[in-house]
């Protein structure tokens, strides 16, 4: 098996939140003990509700945020031993909103070429050539070289963001909600482009999205996050066919596929996403879980792994899957 290009070991990230005047600050664990391994050429999907810690995790993978504890290894080396420029050459982000992530006062050519200038790679003439080649590759007309972001549509802007991320030929691209701000017909074009680029450049993606259909389409593996922890991780097809964690099951049940007559499913989840400042005792999911027992409220479940899959749930005991307890399919 290929070694992981990106490995996360027991990473935790706490933020200190002011409790108000005269009150003590409190710790918020945005990421509470996450371990993940992303292999070269893999597309890892990261899903979960807002506030579950996906973006904090992504920022740590990009080296923009230091973990409170735990280690992140990039190509086997701890991320803090790599200097910022060296890391930026190997891992690049694509953000959600192409309206706010591009400098409105810079031309398209200059935005895409900025990494080349920062890293002082090649000559000015070579920059122009590399930028234009990259523009061709992401489907931007060369005549847009001197245009400004305000003159571009949302889809074109996202292509600019992708071109900027890829111009350094990074190994890993972290896509945080890459198509959420786009229209349906534009979303499909960007998804197709991301898929082609991944194959052609042998890229590794971490795709963060709340749109499970998008994740199912792009990702080879999926990790489900809940309150700062990965509660389930599995190969995409297996996860979608047979979710093991009740939370994954509820997430999948909420996907509204375009099939008339099925109505809107009732997820039985309740509306209350718990306050991350006061996470529930025991299993953090138990207040919303339809299968919760007394044990779930008392003790946090351990991580169970089987055939490369992981689930954190009391429905699985130490010896593996207990078919009798397997209420969920």
């Amino acid at each position: 098996m290929t070694p992981p290009v990106l490995e996360i070991r027991e990473v935790e990230r706490r933020f200190w939140v002011s409790g108000g005047a005269f009150k003590a600050t409190r710790a918020l664990s945005a990421v509470a003990g996450v371990s993940l391994a992303v292999r070269r050429g893999e597309v890892l999907g990261l899903v979960g509700e807002s506030g579950c810690g996906k973006t904090t995790l992504a920022r740590m993978m990009l080296g923009l945020l230091k973990p409170t504890s735990g280690t992140i290894l990039f190509g086997g080396e701890p991320i803090e031993t790599l200097d910022r420029a060296a890391l930026a050459r190997r891992v690049q982000p694509v953000f959600q909103d192409p309206y706010s992530s591009l400098n409105p006062r810079k031309s398209i050519g200059s935005i895409i070429g900025l990494p080349l200038r920062v890293h002082k790679l090649g000559t000015r003439a070579e920059w122009r050539q590399r930028i234009e080649e990259m523009m061709d590759r992401v489907g931007l007309a060369r005549r847009l070289y001197r245009s400004y972001p305000s003159q571009l549509s949302g889809g074109q802007r996202q292509r600019v963001a992708i071109a900027r991320a890829l111009i350094m030929r990074p190994e890993v691209v972290i896509c945080d909600e890459p198509t959420s701000a786009l229209d349906v017909s534009v979303q499909s074009q960007i998804l197709n482009l991301l898929q082609d680029l991944q194959r052609d450049f042998n890229l590794t993606y971490v795709v963060i999205s709340h749109n499970l259909a998008v994740v199912e389409h792009l990702a080879t593996r999926v990790a489900v996050m809940y309150l700062g922890r990965i509660v389930e991780e599995n190969e995409t097809t297996a996860l979608f066919r047979a979710p093991r964690h009740p939370y994954t099951e509820a997430l999948l049940a909420s996907v509204l596929t375009p099939e008339p007559g099925l109505g809107v499913p009732d997820t039985h989840l309740g509306i209350a996403f718990p306050n991350p400042l006061e996470p529930p005792a025991g299993c953090p999911f138990h207040p919303r879980c339809p299968h919760a027992t007394a044990l779930c409220a008392a003790r946090a479940p351990e991580r169970h792994s089987f055939d490369g899959a992981i689930a954190e749930c009391h429905l699985y005991d130490e010896i593996g899957v207990n078919e009798d307890k397997l209420v969920i399919r």
């Binding site: 509700e49 807002s50 549509s153 229209d183 349906v184 017909s185 979303q187 499909s188 074009q189 998804l191 197709n192 898929q195 194959r199 709340h210 749109n211 499970l212 259909a213 998008v214 199912e216 389409h217 792009l218 080879t220 995409t236 979608f240 509820a250 997430l251 999948l252 049940a253 909420s254 996907v255 509204l256 596929t257 375009p258 099939e259 008339p260 007559g261 099925l262 109505g263 809107v264 499913p265 009732d266 997820t267 989840l269 509306i271 209350a272 996403f273």
Partner: protein
Amino acid sequence: MTALLAVEELHVEIPLALGTLRPVRGVSFEIERGKTLSIVGESGCGKSLTSLAIMNLLPRGARRTATRLSYGGSDLLGLDERAMADLRGNEIAMIFQEPMTSLNPAFTIGNQLEEALLRHRKVARTEARARAVYLLEKVGITAAPERLRQYPHQLSGGLRQRVMIAMALMCGPKLIIADEPTTALDVTIQAQILHLLAALRREFEMGVILITHDLGVVARIADRVAVMYAGEIVESGSVEEIFARPLHPYTQGLMRCIPVPGRSRRGEHLGSIPGMVPSLIGALRGCAFSNRCSHAFERCAVESVPLREIAPDRAYRCLLSAEACARNALEAAAQ
């Protein structure tokens, strides 16, 4: 059954320095009590302006014309602002996309909920409060009396959207216009909010106009669907018909664009619609979709295309015959 709301030949025009922008061009539809009509389309297709035009809430400078705009038999076109304000929030209520921005941060939830009822009915504040508590519980909010004292920033996005729905229901409206009510929310919360909306529609026999770009939402909640493109309705029909036999090339294109777990394959391309929406400034010649349509021929660029009704409640706007359109869909699916 007579229509609750009837819209005929609705146009919106906005004069700009470059010429007149025509974001809504001849939109007609009807909605009955207890039914959900979904207006679906991408950004800039005129779906939100259509709803604002009905409510007479268009931005300043925008002109609205229609041959008919009637609500429960009475004409909305002739109403002055005062009479329209009596209808808004009372008979017709709106739910907007962003619960973060459409609630007033300076007032408590209770204050804002009660205001709707106090504005339209002669009721005591205690009575308004009782109704607010009743409706908050109805939309699944626990500890409702305490919630009334909270401010919008103290609630999560899902709770705020529930508050918006409760607020829309305060006066027992007969028609609800929901503009992207779940777009800003998580999938789990989206499912819950839509579930709730569907249940409330049944219980109170309301008409619902649901404006969205999400075909999944449309399929699960709508009775009838109107697909809009570049300010026009390009196709309409029952939800079953639209999804089983989409006729307009744009509708067919949209359906091929969306990834569907289990149906679309990883590594394979999703369908896409090349090109861009034409500018709606000035006069538009021919079919608005012709520059992006793979089946376009010479006549498409020059002839105006009427909405053709092929069955009661089933219409599409294309020069090709319905048979040819259906055949094109099959061929595209086979590829």
